[in-house]
Amino acid sequence: MTQEEEIIVIPGRWDLPFRHTAGRVASRFFHGLKAKRILALRCPRCQRVLMPPRPFCERCFQPLDDWVEVGQQGTLEAFTICYARFTGLPDPPYCLILVKLDGADSALQHLLGEVALEDVQSATQRIQIGMRLEALWREEREGGIKDIKYFRPVA
């Protein structure tokens, strides 16, 4: 090759259908959400109430079958507000949170709503770790994590 040739770039795209099986445990959790109930599983050994529920306790390695209903209010443990736009992710800004629901020992990831997010300064003055939040339900619930529309500050 005597001269630099242009590097050819061939566009590609992945658009693959999947059928994600929720299995026994997550299916019961999602059926619960349809009925506006938030269900978790208690470990028989460490007694932690695990949210979201899972088939086994990864610390004790025990199978889980002791279902308990947890509260629809909880405490904010961590949050981030996404301001950048990325292909395949929701339109910014959105606030992703970890909320520890009353009666649970691990936190649920979800979204925060009803707080103005456009200005990072005022948003982060309003959103404080430790603040109390409550679930707001969707009218049309299909059995999925977004049956909870979002969590909002307790008035």
């Binding site: 695990l50 979201p52 996404c82 292909t87």
Partner: protein, 382 residues
């Protein structure tokens, strides 16, 4: 009794932004450089382990080409879908067990898609992906828990970026070679609060390869072996809600194993240089604490005292770190390469004064949720 194992060859390509090669040409170029550095050819290598993260390469499984690129034709060879630091760990095991004498490990970073875009598909599709979870979002959740938990200021975090970008500016191999000011960090665009653009790494392209030798092979191959005196790795829960988001639990566990193996009881005194996986500026501070260089919540103070500056008591990321050069899938292996160069006294303008013991930290799951899996390697000069 297992044999000692040393790094006997180091190869790093130029690091850059443009995906101007086939993804596996990075491994090829790095492997050739490492072989030349060791004075070996392909036939001298017994076992090959390559690494990479498939989705960034735009194909599954990307080992279709990497093993050949690293000289693995008809050899004992394997590929890990983790950071290259785990290829190093597995090659170490093969040599320490006495099965082989010479190993080549390689990794590459590539950019056929944005890492943020492809990272969302590795998240659990039932509970978190529908919410807009991604690599940076999960790291930002951890960063927010950390800074709020310990009252760390924006100015303190900005110092990490200023230090590493200043170091990178003096590193001819770095991808980003420009210093930034604290004011520029604080004024950079918000990405995922509390992460701003300059708290986040670039997406770099290039390859890195290391050649390891058993003790006998190492003594034959080189006059400057760099011994692996300690190594450990660990993985934390995938579920962000089930772990303490203010600390890097898997890094602490990995470090404890590596320190025990190499007899380190006071790392700040016993280590001379360190390269950590600063996937964000916040994570460099959290890493100081997980590595027991500072008490929990005390990392910013260590930084402010200048301890981790290039001229400090324990320089951290004198190469500029991941904030300057970020191969998704091999940034951890680059840390090991940089630490080994320091011990050989061949780090050029980024060389620190006469180090004898170095630490390299890599986050082994490049796409993992919120820094959940880590590998720590302790290296010692000959």
């Amino acid at each position: 009794m297992s044999t000692r194992v040393a790094v006997v060859g180091i190869g790093q390509t130029a690091y850059r932004a443009a995906a101007d090669h086939l993804y596996h040409e990075h491994d090829y170029e790095a492997a050739r450089l490492a072989l030349a550095d060791a004075g070996l050819d392909r036939g001298d290598v017994d076992t090959v382990i390559t690494s990479g993260w498939d989705a960034v390469d735009g194909r599954t499984i990307s080992d279709m080409h990497t093993v050949m690129s690293a000289g693995g034709y008809l050899k004992d060879a394997s590929h890990v879908g983790e950071d290259g630091i785990m290829a190093l760990a597995y090659a170490y095991l093969r040599l320490a067990a006495g099965l082989f004498d010479v190993a080549l490990v390689s990794g590459h970073g590539h950019a056929e898609s944005s890492f943020e875009t492809v990272s969302s598909i590795v998240f659990d599709p039932l509970f978190v992906r529908p919410l807009g979870e991604s690599h940076l979002v999960s790291l930002a959740l951890q960063a927010s828990a950390y800074v709020q938990g310990y009252g760390i200021s924006d100015e303190q975090v900005a110092r990490v970026v200023v230090k590493n970008r200043r170091n990178g500016a003096a590193n001819p191999s770095a991808h980003l070679r420009s210093a930034v000011t604290a004011e520029e960090v604080l004024a950079s665009a918000p990405v995922c609060y509390p992460l701003r653009a300059l708290h986040c790494p670039p997406q770099s392209v290039g390859g890195v390869a290391l050649i390891l030798g058993s003790e006998e092979a190492a003594r034959r191959i080189t006059s400057k072996p760099v011994w692996i005196s300690g190594i450990g790795w660990a993985i934390d829960s995938y579920d962000l809600g089930s772990k303490d988001m203010t600390r890097l639990g898997s890094l602490a566990a990995a470090a404890e194993r590596a320190y025990r193996m190499s007899g380190i009881t006071d790392p700040l005194e016993q280590l001379d240089v360190a390269e950590v996986h600063d996937i964000t500026a916040f994570h460099e501070l959290m890493a100081y604490e997980a590595l027991s260089l500072a008490p929990e919540g005390g990392a910013a103070r260590l930084l402010e005292e200048g301890t981790t500056d290039r001229a400090g008591k324990l320089p951290v990321n004198s190469s500029g770190g991941v904030l300057c050069t970020n191969l998704y899938g091999a940034a951890g292996l680059v840390r090991a390469a940089e630490a080994a160069l320091q011990l050989r006294g061949e780090a050029g303008p980024r060389q620190v004064a006469a180090p004898r013991r170095a630490l390299a930290h890599g986050m082994s799951a490049p796409s993992g949720a919120a820094a959940r899996s880590d590998c720590v390697v302790v290296l010692e000069g000959g």
